[in-house]
Symmetry: C2
Subunit: 134 residues, 2 copies
């Protein structure tokens, strides 16, 4: 019997560590965040492994890549459709679990696009950043 539960994804120790770090994580970590944490446990862990694993997970639908942070890609293990709120100062991201009606009027011109999904970015200032600047 294979060690990947026949899902075409080998559960190596490094991957298990990344998966366990991501599981239930609500911080929307970057590749660097993940590397920093996991490399404490696996000091020889390489950045490439983090990116490779994230890429595999993304292709398998296990995580979502967020483009909301202008500086770097952020990853969300929660693949339920939901939206996000980002602090424009410190880049903290929190979930917004509210459904909105984002259907486009049938006659609206989308220039031939076939729409497959959507995502709302809310911008704001978080509690901590509000405190530290009046």
């Amino acid at each position: 019997m294979k060690n990947d539960n026949n899902i075409g994804f080998k559960l190596t120790p490094q991957r298990l560590a990344i998966l366990s770090y991501l599981d239930g994580n609500k911080d929307h970590p970057s590749a660097e965040d993940i590397y920093n944490v996991i490399s404490r446990v696996f000091p020889t862990m390489s950045f490439a492994t983090v990116y490779n694993t994230l890429d595999s997970l993304k292709k398998r639908g296990g995580i979502t890549e967020l483009t909301i942070d202008p500086d770097k890609k952020r990853f969300d293990p929660n693949t339920e459709p939901h939206h996000h709120l980002i602090c424009v100062r410190c880049r903290r991201i929190v979930d917004v679990h509210i459904g909105f009606d984002l259907s486009l009027p049938a006659l609206h011109n989308t220039e031939g696009f076939e729409i497959t999904g959507n995502h709302i970015e809310f911008y704001g200032v978080c509690r901590e950043c509000k405190k530290s600047s009046g």
Copy 2:
């Protein structure tokens, strides 16, 4: 009399070229797109000038920086609030000029964030990409 109409922004030939390229542009160009076009007219134009000008315009509220493209920043000279639709294959971006009610229920937990704005990203496949892949 200054040549910047007293707005603290010198209208140099390079800047005028960038401004005129951006004016009414609906392609949501990247810095590279802009550089490629303007440097034909100003062969000595540097990338730094493009970035500096975009940065000044952004700070002055003349353009909006979009984070919707995972690969690079895109710029939109239309600063009226609106949303966007991106082709997940070729990264073409088109405007969505529809207003949506994105108000959050008063009692919704935003973890102390003060919300200042929002933006909807619609994902899809454009006409050309649909054609070239069935």
